[in-house]
Amino acid sequence: MGKRLSIVVALVLAPSLAACGSNGGSDDPPAGNVASPPSERSSFPVTVEGTSGQVTIDDRPERIVSLSPTATEDLFAIGAGEQVIAVDDQSNFPPEAPATELSGFEPNVEAIAGFEPDLVVFATDPGDLGSSLEGLGITALQLDAAPTLEVAYEQIEQLGLATGHADEARALVDDMRSEIEGLVNAADPAPGTSFYYELDDTLYSVTSETFIGQLFEMLGLENIADEVGTGSGGYPQLSAEYILASDPDLIFLADTKCCGQSLETVSRRPGWHELSAVTGGDVVPLNDDVASRWGPRIVDLLGRIAKAADSAEANAA
């Protein structure tokens, strides 16, 4: 009974507290300091920085709903997995994540509220998901697609703060930083090693402006889609002629799951059997999911790209 009452009180109070937090009063402790006390349990309430502003979390959340596959991966990687009670239908990693029918694309507020969450993490807000949840007294934290690695790190750290796993989050980010640094330092592709990155089988690609494009740029690879220039929003649909004429050294397929693409299917496309990446076996299948998220597994993705770049060089030599 007492517990129930406190939930009711929390539900009633949460919006007003959140409102206080977002006013950014000068006596609010800065977010960075909040997590520094050694005992993490005592660190609540905390104020974390979401995409759509600051969010105050009163108690360590124990019933988290994640509507973002990236946030799901982040939460489990920082040890907050046990606090997660439901994830959306696209959150397929890690396998132990409690998958549900909830949709992150077409979120149903009533269905989400039915899980009685104390924290909802989501990436895209198709309308007024955040405000609807807040209206029900449910704390909602938006962590939109990260435009850069730094933002991806920041999101992991904010999730750490929000769930009482700040230290683990910081450790994870440190690991990711050093591993990525190691990969980048070790990478030494021949100057001008070019690649084509395929998002789907209608030849949509990414430029170096995008999150995924930056990873390739860090390794010193040349993106044939950059020829398009800005103004394509970073995701241009390339001309088949242009891909043939560019004859990239490497082809990365981020449409192996969505569209079933493989070395075999691309070599059946008109003219593609002549591409040197196809004849030389430098068509690299990637996991679409990992390549479209900005979670901890980007380290593996970067490793795979770096390895492919190395072997392409070996083939060329």
């Binding site: 239908d89 696209q90 949709s103 694309f105 077409e106 789907d200 089988d201 209608t202 030849l203 949509y204 044939i224 020829e227 398009v228 103004g231 394509s232 241009p236 649909q237 390339l238 001309s239 088949a240 002629e241 242009y242 043939l244 004429a245 560019s246 004859d247 799951k257 969505c258 569209c259 079933g260 693409q261 493989s262 075999e264 299917t265 059946r268 496309r269 008109p270 003219g271 002549e274």
Partner: protein
């Protein structure tokens, strides 16, 4: 002026328009083959063309490959699709006596969309380049079949209005099913969406092989009955009094136009505007007789889409613009210009 003079003038206007139509098509094909995101010397391309695909000296193997496997099939498919949509639009406008009728009137687009969605969501994922067009083709025919059957039987009408209403109902229903399936499989959303926006970007000879038989059969049928369309447009009663079996003719035309539309949708996705704008432009040029309107719609429809597709792959090269975006963007102002010029001339 005697009637004979008027008739002569119409004929010569029609002949002139036909000559113009053929000339424009030849120019459009040349432009389509010569211009692309990859620059290949015009002289070399022309030499390559007249030698039927023998790469002349100075043309790299890769350039020959681009011409033979990418550019040429794309021009051919754009021509077939443009001719199909424009002729189907003209034929629909005749048999439904409705100037706003377009090839997607009877649920062909919604049926094709549903077919493509089913293929993407539930078909084998490594063969979508074949399953999606075939399934879209079947879906378009099923959509029109449903609309036609429903309009004839349930709504009981022999009138064109009941057919059009049935088309609206069937289209809404099929679109609802498609949206539901897409929600169930939200990971397929983007693939279906890019397909709907038009997919000439990955066209090859496979698409020509897929579309050509239906297009030839359908356009041939429409061509054969083009004189009867003039009669049917006057009115069912009048046409019957002239000994024409109206319902049967309408069915034949609907089947032919749907076949052409289904083939076009299957290889190119949904391309709006062509079926509406081209026939009306042709009418403004040569008058309302389907003897001229139908063949000229084919010629100008083919030329229009070839040129628009050339824009689609060159304007933001090396990126592409979905062709359906350009048909409306270029087509609408063009049509208004034709209308204005015509009003001033009149």
């Amino acid at each position: 002026m005697t009637d004979q003079d008027a008739a002569d003038r119409r004929v010569s206007a029609g002949t002139r328009a036909t000559v113009l139509g053929v000339a424009v098509l030849v120019v459009a094909v040349l432009v389509g083959v010569l211009v692309g995101p990859v620059r290949i010397g015009a002289a070399n391309v022309l030499r390559w063309l007249v030698s039927f695909g023998d790469a002349p000296q100075g043309m790299s193997e890769q350039q020959a490959l681009i011409l033979a496997d990418l550019r040429l099939p794309r021009v051919v498919v754009a021509g077939l699709v443009g001719a199909s949509l424009a002729a189907s639009g003209a034929a629909y406008q005749a048999v439904f006596r409705n100037p706003l009728a377009d090839p997607y009137l009877l649920g062909a687009a919604a049926g094709a969309g549903l077919g493509a969605t089913i293929a993407v969501a539930y078909g084998p994922s490594d063969a979508t380049e074949l399953t999606v067009p075939v399934s879209a083709f079947v879906g378009a025919l099923v959509g029109v079949g449903l609309a036609y059957g429903l309009g004839r039987s349930t709504l009981g009408g022999r009138s064109t209005a009941s057919l059009v209403l049935a088309g609206v109902a069937v289209a809404s229903f099929l679109t609802a099913v498609q949206t539901f399936l897409q929600q169930q499989r939200s990971e397929t959303l983007r693939q279906v969406y890019t397909w709907i926006l038009g997919r000439l970007g990955t066209t090859g000879w496979d698409d020509v092989r897929l579309a050509l038989p239906s297009v030839v059969l359908a356009l041939g049928t429409m061509w054969a009955v083009r004189r009867l369309l003039d009669v049917i447009e006057v009115g069912d009663v009048e046409a019957r009094s002239l000994g024409l079996h109206v319902a049967r003719l309408r069915l034949v035309v609907v089947i032919a136009a749907s076949l052409a539309t289904a083939a076009a949708v299957a290889v190119a996705g949904l391309i709006g505007f062509v079926g509406l704008i081209i026939p009306h432009t042709v009418r403004l040029m040569v008058g309302g007789s389907y003897r001229s309107v139908l063949p000229l719609s084919m010629l100008f429809g083919a030329s229009f889409l070839i040129l628009v597709d050339t824009l689609a792959r060159t304007v933001v090269a090396p990126a592409e613009i979905p062709i359906g975006v350009i048909t409306a963007f270029v087509g609408a102002p063009f049509f208004i210009a034709v209308l204005r010029r015509n009003r001033r001339a009149a």
